[in-house]
């Protein structure tokens, strides 16, 4: 049942959104990786998952906001069962580690997909990254962080609209990066953000 629904979901996303993968800086492989992408629409998670080749997709678990994806049984079913999402508390109670579920997923041998902006942007600019990605890079120094730029998604379903414009989106995967020894948090976050921004350059397209 879940296999069928997730297969159907991925197929539908590919049909409606295109969700073409453009592997610019690395090739798809089944190594454990941390994919991090810009965030501008509710379809972002689905689009990246659909763009990944099936063997890689099976090993990859997206992070999803608990307050949105856990809010109704249908959303929870899609997130937890179909996409095997890791639900993250965006406003964690003091003293708890919000990254613990992601850490467990990585320790379990899975790749993860995160959106370091934390919330959906307006698609015009990429917001400052939150520090979670830096923490993960420190806890998993031997795991590649792969920048992903989702092109066009903000034009398909922008924040504040319910009208879908059926243009096709592309997920561009850039060159992997890792935190340099002793690198400051701010410098690393800026470097990671620049890696995503660089993929947005239209000049390097196609």
């Amino acid at each position: 049942m879940t296999e069928l629904v997730s297969g159907l979901l991925i197929w539908l996303v590919r049909l409606l959104l295109g969700a073409r993968a453009d592997w610019r800086g690395c090739a798809p492989n089944s190594e454990r990786r941390i994919y991090f992408a810009n965030h501008s629409s509710h379809f972002d998670t689905l689009a990246v998952m659909a763009a990944l080749p099936p063997p890689v997709r099976r090993l990859t678990r997206p992070a999803a906001a608990q307050d949105y994806w856990g809010a109704s049984p249908a959303r929870r079913f899609i997130a937890e069962r179909c996409l095997r999402a890791v639900l993250i508390d965006r406003a964690p109670p003091a003293g708890t580690d919000p990254l613990a579920p992601l850490q467990r997923a990585l320790e379990g041998g899975c790749s993860i997909l995160i959106f370091p902006e934390g919330t959906r942007g307006d698609g015009e600019a990429i917001a400052r990254f939150r520090s979670g990605i830096f923490q993960l890079s420190q806890r998993f120094p031997d795991v590649d962080l792969v920048p992903v730029y989702l092109d066009n998604l903000q034009r398909i379903l922008p924040k504040g609209s319910f009208l879908i414009v059926p243009i096709t989106c592309t997920a561009r995967f850039g060159a992997p990066l890792r935190a340099a020894p002793g690198e400051e948090r701010g410098a690393f976050l800026e470097r990671a953000r620049a890696a995503v921004l660089q993929l947005a350059e239209p000049g390097s397209a196609r």
Binding site: L163, P166, A205
Partner: protein, 309 residues
């Protein structure tokens, strides 16, 4: 359903069988990497032709409604490719939504129910006025003129112009209208194929490297003359005399050439090589129907004014 239609489709299938066989032979002979790449691309094109002929031929054989539905889908995919590459702003969102889900279906619906008068002014007049009006409500005036022009160009090229191919089915010329559509598509597409083949065989002088890196003077002349010759020989599908068929084929070929050229210029402007990835070896739908966008309205109007009842 006519005998002639079957003969034409069988003839095209026979040509494709020969093309496929040639492709197999060339594949075996090619040894250099560059030649291999060319042959590989050629064979991908031939395979894509098979799919296109089966889909298009099937729709035409099944009748008017399926043909119009097929062109509705082609326009939809072409418009989608257009907007995937053309930048838009948040303020254009509603206009784009209306282009895809209101203007496009309504335009083809007018064709389907045979309302030619409204069909011919709906996009150039009403979409032209209403879409920018709706866009003003978003309050974003940045590049407003250019953005409105892009919305209109997208519809004119991918919907309005293309729809004049299935609109041929409305015409009463005394013969089966489906054959006019087949005639147009055969001449337009063969002109592209001949230009490609002559260009590969004899091409020396580049026509306009800034717009198209592969179009050559030799390819254009050879392709145009070959397509006009075929168009003249096929006059039996149409109400035209051989001489008229030659003249009309010449117009189709020149229009088709400029259709490809204008759409290439837009692609270069948008810094893209192809419109899409749907058809292997051909790029997207818009790469395949670029010549048709310009040739279809001209062929339709010539036929309508001089040969239709």
């Amino acid at each position: 359903m006519t005998q002639q239609l079957i003969y034409v489709l069988a003839g095209i299938a026979a040509l494709l069988v020969i093309a496929s066989a040639t492709g197999v032979v060339l594949e075996r002979r090619a040894s250099e990497p560059r030649a291999r790449e060319t042959v590989h691309n050629l064979n991908a094109r031939i395979r894509a032709w098979w799919v296109m002929i089966v889909v298009l031929g099937g729709a035409i054989v099944l009748g008017e409604t399926t043909t119009i539905i097929l062109f509705t889908l082609l326009s939809f995919m072409a418009l989608r490719e257009f907007w995937t590459l053309t930048p838009s702003r948040r303020g254009d969102h509603v206009a784009l939504f209306l282009s895809f889900f209101v203007v496009l279906p309504l335009h083809y619906l007018l064709l389907g129910v045979g309302r030619y008068g409204l069909f011919s002014i709906f996009i150039p007049v009403y979409a032209f006025l209403i879409l920018p009006a709706v866009t003003t409500l978003a309050g974003d005036t940045s590049e407003f003129l250019a953005r409105s022009a892009k919305v209109q160009w997208g519809l004119m090229l991918t919907v309005y112009a293309v729809s004049h191919a299935p609109a041929l089915l409305l015409l009463e010329t005394g013969g089966p209208a489906a054959l006019l559509l087949v005639y147009l598509i055969v001449v337009v597409q063969l002109s592209d194929v001949f230009q490609y083949v002559w260009g590969k065989l004899l091409g020396r002088r580049l026509l306009a490297p800034g717009i198209s890196p592969s179009k050559t003077v030799e390819g254009l002349v050879g392709g145009a003359l070959s397509a006009i010759l075929v168009g003249t020989l096929l006059h039996g599908l149409t109400p035209f005399t051989p001489l008229q068929a030659a003249a009309i084929s010449a117009v189709i070929v020149v229009a088709g050439f400029f259709g490809g050229f204008v759409l290439s210029a837009i692609k270069r402007d948008l810094k893209a090589k192809d419109w899409g990835y749907l058809i292997e070896g051909h790029g997207g739908v818009l790469d395949r129907i670029d010549s048709l966008t310009f040739a279809a309205p001209l062929f339709f109007h010539m036929t309508r004014y001089w040969f239709a009842a």
